[in-house]
């Protein structure tokens, strides 16, 4: 199962847990699995069927443009961070 680092502003939903493991072949499936355990988390991360524009998912140290479709492995390291832009 992937290792998910819970942003501090979402830890009210996870009982203070800052890192959990969850199943899922994609980021979307992972969020669905998290939602089952931590109701409300999906809506904080997603806007409909996409990640919220202000949220970027980082997998194994890299930002992903594939959002909810990003593939995961059992060893993936997943973060939800602020979306950024460069100059």
């Amino acid at each position: 199962m992937a290792s998910v680092h819970i942003p501090s502003l979402l830890q009210d939903l996870t009982g203070g847990a800052d890192e959990v493991t969850a199943p899922g072949a994609t980021v979307g499936e992972l969020i669905e699995a998290l939602e089952e355990r931590f109701p409300g988390l999906r809506d904080r991360l997603c806007d409909g069927r996409r990640l919220r524009p202000a949220v970027a998912v980082w997998v194994d140290g890299e930002p992903s443009r594939e959002g909810l479709l990003q593939a995961l492995t059992d060893h993936s390291d997943v973060h939800f961070l602020p979306a950024i832009s460069g100059g």
Binding site: P7, L10, G61, L81, I84, S85, G86, G87
Partner: protein, 760 residues
């Protein structure tokens, strides 16, 4: 003499003449101002004289009646847009904000906010016409700082704006658009274990990207309803997509032609004039050309954010960073979207710190909407963190580079915001800085008679870099050269760096590859030239396209030699049999016989690569400060940077020097200067003081190459990180010269005198 036989690469790492060089030095290169279409009209924008006001009415009748005026536009001529976030490549933008920034709706939110526009047969008539437009304003109190904007009773820029905090919205309207947080470990515990704790507040002013070429566009509609735009932009596809969203027309009906660009630095991504020119051209039925004056560039286009940052850091007696707690509030300008999130992610990235908390606030104020500027948000943040670290080093009596070596991040370490570093070269930059003669040289002192004080400072910086989508086509000419077509605007020599990666792959000379930057109708989707991505991602596309050419050409060579393609190697421009070296044929001969072997050869590639290599830099600077005038002179500057692999070292050095030059300006002189009413008082290069060659010494560069394992040639983006360390390095140098910590940018003579108590 270079030993080409022992070099890993034949083209990469050399310094050929840039492909676009001759046209640029002879004035033949085409910029936006060079576009002249038959029947062109000239557009001009009417801008708000107020920082914050309600628009009661706009009367354009007198302007419309002026002979020579062919069209007048206000926001009513643009489609109404929903509060929708659009993903425009590298950046996301709220379309309604983008539209109302282009032409104000209901309110003006900063001095210089566009209100209306005119197209006329001459620029003079257009200027006369906008003066005839009557706007009735109800002037409102402006909000000019994050402190004022965050007060509970502050005037609101947007009555419906509430604070977003990772999927939650506050109920009460506020000028605070968002709050984000990075948290790791237990900061209280970390501080309790610290022998030295330093806590400081820092302030920075908005600064402009300062590109020498103003924004310019020419728009023309065809009778079939298609729109063509010729312009100066960092991203043709991004402009196409923004126009499509703003004007509600399909992307297939828009063609954006990117011309040469006189600098962008992040400021030429979002649109300003482009939709206005399109609306005017549609109404007039003729092409419309619009070019900003320098004052309009300052007033109407994005600077980067001013900011207030509070930072507390603690370290153990043996020099180990134990905890850091930061508060960042960045001015977004008139609409949400400051780079505070990136600032918070970059701020402490060079260091291993177990206990971290960073709270970041995006705050709207009555200033132009902030735009990206070279490592957006990171320079402000590093000014704070690298200054505090210098103070900790002083308190611990530790050498600042040794302290950084002790605490610096390396492969496998986890950043404060979470991701784990792959192979990085931060420690290598510190070692290179320490070993550089500059660091051990005695501080320059002419003599004591001039009364100046001398100091040396160091600082480091981090930027994440970006990958993104790119496309490249490579077609083989009959003379064995390659036409390389790509979609990335060439700002800093990327035609050369892309062509060189193609040439290296095919065993050709750099000049045998002819790079062309294509318009949106002629190349596949390519994201902006920004995020230090082009040599990495577009270069990767060129590498892949060349691989495609190589595969096809190998098949053609095999056919001519009557052997299997698997039996052939390509080296030095010659296909040679692995089994029989007598069987060989040159790349150029194969190219000359394409008609016999199956027709044209075109390689193509689209990429959205992972493996982005992050960037670190460490800078050393010597300054002389005149205590009487407060003026700081830069005496010597050395910039060290891990660039992964320098494709064309001259342009890597140019990026490093350019970043330092802009950082010096940000550090010492540049600022948006407002009166109490929010009117910008220094909207010219006379009063907005950018450094000139007289202000800068030769900037020495040290290229450190720790190849990025995620790229075929080891490339890391290089363009942005060199602007991150300069303000902090210079602040630290000033402190070591005069004994006063500078916590405000710019550290102008006035600020230095104020900090040293001489303006009391």
């Amino acid at each position: 003499m270079t030993d080409t036989k022992t070099r890993k690469y034949q083209v990469i790492g050399t310094r050929p003449i840039r492909h676009d060089g001759v046209d640029k030095v002879t004035g033949r290169a085409r910029y936006g101002a060079d576009i002249h279409l038959p029947g062109t009209l000239y557009g001009k924008v009417l801008r708000s004289p107020h920082a914050h006001a309600r628009i009661r009415s706009i009367d354009t009748s007198k302007a419309e009646a002026l002979p020579g005026v062919k069209a007048v536009a206000t926001a009513k001529d643009q489609p109404a847009l929903a509060d929708k976030i659009a993903d425009l490549g590298e950046a996301v933008m709220n379309l309604r904000d983008l539209a109302t920034n282009v032409l104000a709706v209901g309110k003006v939110l900063y001095h210089g906010h566009a209100v209306a526009a005119v197209a006329a047969t001459s620029l003079e008539i257009a200027e006369e016409a906008i003066a005839l437009i009557e706007v009735d304003y109800e002037v409102l109190p402006p909000v000019l700082s994050v402190e004022a904007a965050m007060q509970p009773d502050a005037p609101l820029l947007h009555p419906t704006l509430t604070t977003r905090s990772l999927g939650q919205q506050s109920e009460t309207p506020s000028n605070i658009a968002s709050h984000s947080q990075i948290k790791k470990g237990d900061v209280d515990a970390g501080f309790s274990q610290s022998a030295v704790i330093v806590e400081r507040e820092f302030k920075t002013s908005p600064v402009h990207q300062g590109y020498i070429e103003p924004h310019t566009v020419t728009a023309q509609w065809s009778e079939d309803g298609s729109l063509t735009l010729w312009l100066s932009t960092q991203g043709a596809f991004s402009v196409r997509d923004q126009i499509a969203e703003l004007l509600k027309i399909p992307v297939s009906q828009i063609r954006v032609v990117p011309l040469e660009i006189g600098g962008g630095f992040g400021g030429k991504i979002q649109v300003y004039l482009e939709p206005v020119a399109a609306v005017l051209a549609k109404k007039a039925g003729r092409p419309v050309k619009m070019t900003m004056t320098r004052a309009e560039v300052f007033m109407g286009t994005g600077p980067t954010s001013g900011s207030t940052i509070r930072l507390k850091m603690g370290a153990s007696q043996d020099g180990r960073l134990m905890a850091a707690q930061a508060y960042l509030a960045y001015e977004a300008g008139a609409y949400p979207g400051s780079p505070v999130g990136a600032g918070s992610m970059c701020m402490l990235a060079p260091y291993n710190i177990e206990n971290v908390q960073i709270d970041a606030y995006d705050v709207v104020v009555n200033k132009p909407k902030a735009a990206a500027y070279r490592a957006p948000g990171a320079t402000n943040a590093a000014f704070a963190s690298e200054s505090v670290i210098d103070e900790i080093c002083e308190r611990l009596e530790m050498d600042p580079l040794e302290f950084r070596l002790k605490n610096g991040a390396k492969e496998g370490d986890r950043r404060a915001d979470g991701p784990v570093f792959p192979r990085i070269g931060y420690l290598e930059t510190l070692e290179a800085a320490k070993a550089h003669p500059h660091y051990s040289a005695p501080l320059t002192r002419s003599d004591d008679s001039d009364g100046r004080k001398y100091g040396r400072g160091v600082a480091s910086g981090f930027w994440m870099n970006y990958g993104g989508q790119s496309t490249a086509y490579a077609s083989v000419n009959s003379d064995g050269t390659i036409n390389l077509v790509e979609g990335s605007t060439d700002i800093g020599g990327t035609r050369a760096s892309s062509a060189m990666q193609c040439a290296e792959t095919l065993g050709l000379a750099s000049e045998d590859v002819k790079p062309v930057v294509a318009d949106t109708g002629s190349i596949g989707y390519t994201e902006v030239t920004g995020g230090s991505r082009t040599t990495f991602a577009t270069g990767w596309a060129c590498f892949e396209a060349a691989q495609d050419v190589k595969r096809q050409m190998t098949e053609r060579a095999a056919r001519l030699l009557k052997i299997s393609p698997d039996d052939l190697d390509l080296a030095g421009g010659v296909f040679t049999s692995k089994k029989d070296s007598e069987k060989s044929i040159g790349f150029k001969e194969v190219a000359a016989r394409l008609g016999e072997t199956g027709g044209p050869v075109v390689g193509r590639a689209t990429v959205q690569p992972k493996g982005v290599g992050v960037a670190f830099a460490t800078h050393v600077v010597d300054v002389a400060v005149d205590p009487e005038t407060g003026k700081t002179d830069i005496l010597r500057y050395t910039a060290v940077q891990d660039v992964g692999r320098a494709i064309h070292p001259s342009y890597v050095e140019g990026q490093m020097q350019g970043g330092v030059a802009q950082g010096v300006g940000w550090a010492l002189n540049e600022e948006y200067y407002y009166d109490d009413g929010g009117r910008l008082l220094n909207a010219s290069f006379l009063d907005y003081r950018m450094p000139t060659c007289l202000d800068l010494p030769m900037i020495d560069t040290v290229i450190v190459e720790v190849p990025n394992p995620g790229h075929p040639f080891g490339v890391r983006g290089v363009g942005e990180v060199p602007i991150v360390p300069p303000p902090a390095a210079i602040a630290n140098a000033i402190y070591h010269a005069i004994g006063t910590r500078m916590n405000v940018l710019p550290m102008s003579p006035r600020e230095v005198l104020e900090a040293t108590g001489q303006l009391d």
